[in-house]
Subunit: 404 residues, 2 copies
């Protein structure tokens, strides 16, 4: 059985995180993703974070499995070859600041006139139009603008960003959904679509429940630590051995099982605790009770009791615990990204399992422009590809001589 996206070709102008995550989700399932990178350095993550013999962990995490072509879109001859490649492709994806592709003379109308089936996806901080369209955006600044910082952090503390790059990530996933919707449509109608994904709007949808409550009742939510306002006990509770456990007990059935797990029948007779709403309203009393009980047992015993009653909880893992996590090991959630010079990085794999697709243990990862001649020969012929791109690749080689 072949991979589900085999034969699909993506021309990928993306860099940093949001766009590369979008195209990673496609390349992992068989799409040929050709990263088009601006020489000499290309995607600046190629020089970021851990560098080993000139190759980077930062680039590997989200670009493993893709091809790389060096192309200077300001050079008309090279740009024309990009337009030739468009004839062979299913989608073009980019995450420049809005307006950048237009500076290269690239619009959806042009791409559509060359290949009506093409899907053209742009991922940006705030969308392609409107008063914020021209603003450059990074994950942290979109987290700030989106309101999600205003509901994250300690109670009484300042707005806090999530340590994961959730704006970039969700913008990339949403862009991938748009790209696939466009491909589904093109398969049926012979005609593609223009896709415009906003990281800001992606984070608004992530907060749909809290935002819709605010839009109705006008009550401004604030950072609430590890609590969630609509139910209790939700949050972290300390066991006798100093290990915290994250609980999420919301429905009456869950509350009953939880009370039984810790032999506290009087909780079930307390009218303040007799509905989800009442427990949320009396959350300080609920939490005091949970803290009292958890302080009696080491975490191993707390976990045993929670598991016996199928109560919903999580261990609060640090990265060492993730490395040794039984489910992470079982599911092979990490894979290797290997460059041709033999340097390997261990990186998170794909969160999807799809029948008939064996994920690789080791993904090939390219150096800057590694596939330039091969791909450009397709559209320019080999001699022309060498004439135009050998000097480009010489500049790349020179620039990377200084990257360690």
């Amino acid at each position: 059985m072949s991979k589900p996206l085999e034969g699909i070709r993506i021309l990928d102008f993306t860099q940093f995180m949001s766009g590369p995550i979008c195209t990673l989700m496609l390349s992992d399932f068989g799409a040929e993703v050709i990263k088009l990178e601006n020489p000499p350095i290309g995607d600046t993550t190629r020089t970021g974070n851990i560098l080993d013999q000139g190759v980077s962990s930062h680039y590997a995490t989200r670009n493993r499995g893709k091809k790389s072509v060096a192309i200077n879109m300001k050079d008309p001859e090279q740009r024309d070859l990009f337009l030739e490649l468009v004839k062979t492709a299913d989608a073009v994806v980019e995450n420049f600041k809005p307006g950048t592709m237009e500076k290269f003379g690239i619009t959806y109308e042009l791409l559509e006139s060359i290949n009506p089936r093409i899907v053209y996806t742009s991922i940006s901080g705030y969308g392609q139009e409107g008063p914020y369209a021209g603003k450059a955006a990074y994950d942290a600044t979109v987290q700030a603008e989106s309101g999600i910082m205003s509901i994250t952090g300690e109670e009484g503390g300042r707005p806090t960003k999530c340590g994961g790059s959730i704006a970039d990530y969700s913008g990339g996933l949403v862009g991938c959904i748009g790209t696939l919707i466009g491909i589904v449509d093109a398969q049926r109608t012979g005609h593609g679509r223009r896709i415009d994904a906003s990281m800001m709007d992606a984070l608004l949808l992530c907060q749909e429940n809290m935002l819709s409550m605010y839009m109705r009742n006008g009550k401004l939510p604030k950072p609430s630590g590890n609590r969630y306002p609509a139910a209790s006990p939700i949050g972290d509770f300390m066991c006798k051995d100093g290990v915290p456990i994250m609980l999420n007990i919301s429905t009456n059935a869950q509350w009953k099982a939880f009370a039984e797990a810790f032999d506290q029948p009087q909780w079930l007779e307390n009218p303040d605790f007799d509905s989800m709403k009442n427990r949320a309203d009396h959350f300080r009393e609920v939490e005091a009770e949970v803290n009292r009980v958890f302080a009696m047992y080491d975490s191993e015993e707390v976990v045993r009791r929670l598991e016996e009653k199928k109560s919903i909880f999580g261990r609060i893992n640090n990265y060492e615990a993730i490395k040794n996590h039984p489910q992470v090991k079982f599911r092979k959630s990490f894979v290797e990204a290997e460059y041709d010079n033999g340097v390997k990085f261990t990186v998170p794999g794909n969160p999807l399992r799809i029948s008939g697709v064996e994920h690789e243990d080791v993904y090939r990862t390219t150096t800057m422009g590694q596939n330039t001649i091969e791909i450009m020969s397709e559209v320019a012929g080999e001699a022309e590809a060498h004439r135009i791109f050998d000097p480009v690749m010489a500049r790349v080689k020179e620039a990377y001589a200084n990257v360690h």
Copy 2:
């Protein structure tokens, strides 16, 4: 121009957040999403959060635009009608605890034998197999297990969850990507796929950069407030009027423009500040300088200077600011979800804009089982649909008489 997913039918067993987000991304672009809900209450979010005349904000946020069918899968007659519906569908999506669908006698093999084109997507906390597969999971507990809490929160503080439901959300988006990949494949080969999305793995991929660094250097990352370890200044800085601004200045070019914006040429001559790595290593000195300068100006002036030099920043918005945000207004990022009784909730719309698709201003939102007779008549005939489901709907009506 029709919507890109028109004619695609999704049978949707999902509830709570992750699954409903997956199918929302499909229904917004024309897929017919038929929610199959267990009578009498159905998706428990139907009784959650703000209730007005028996209908809920919680349900509306992620289920607007979908149809609703009441079906008791433990009743063989009703279950057989579900199997008839499978013949008419492109995908089945569910987010029960792994093993639940099997209890109803539903496996991918069975669905595939009925309709080879079917895509069968499951979204769960930890995936369909392995030592954690049987664990029920909520957003907060998966955030804890995934390690993302261990890098979120104040420096020196405890691990903190993100206030947005990022585990549910990213699990839902990833499940949607899997579903669409399966549909693309089925269109080409006539054969669908089994899709298994893990919320835990979705959050690992969100942390790919930090995790890959840990896997290489073994340095355990901790909560670092609003900083990001690899560059500086990244974080919130207070202006003279007490308004904080989120900055993300990383490259040398950005640092130069930022120094110019605030007339600080000496920053560019300081060898401690002369590369991204040096600024990250001397982040306390960098931050002290930024705080000194921001304290001289009100936020309006700070923003003016940042905008003039195209420095990358964000306002740290609360929900009131989101409601009045110029880009949110321009892009019409909120829509209305209206029930048939006239109750409307204002909820975040779709983060994608796709050419040829006009998003609605108002999305129809269904009460429990509202489309039961209509949909079941297709496969059972109208008389049989009434015979089997009128009693079911009577129970629904009775149960909802007590929901206010």
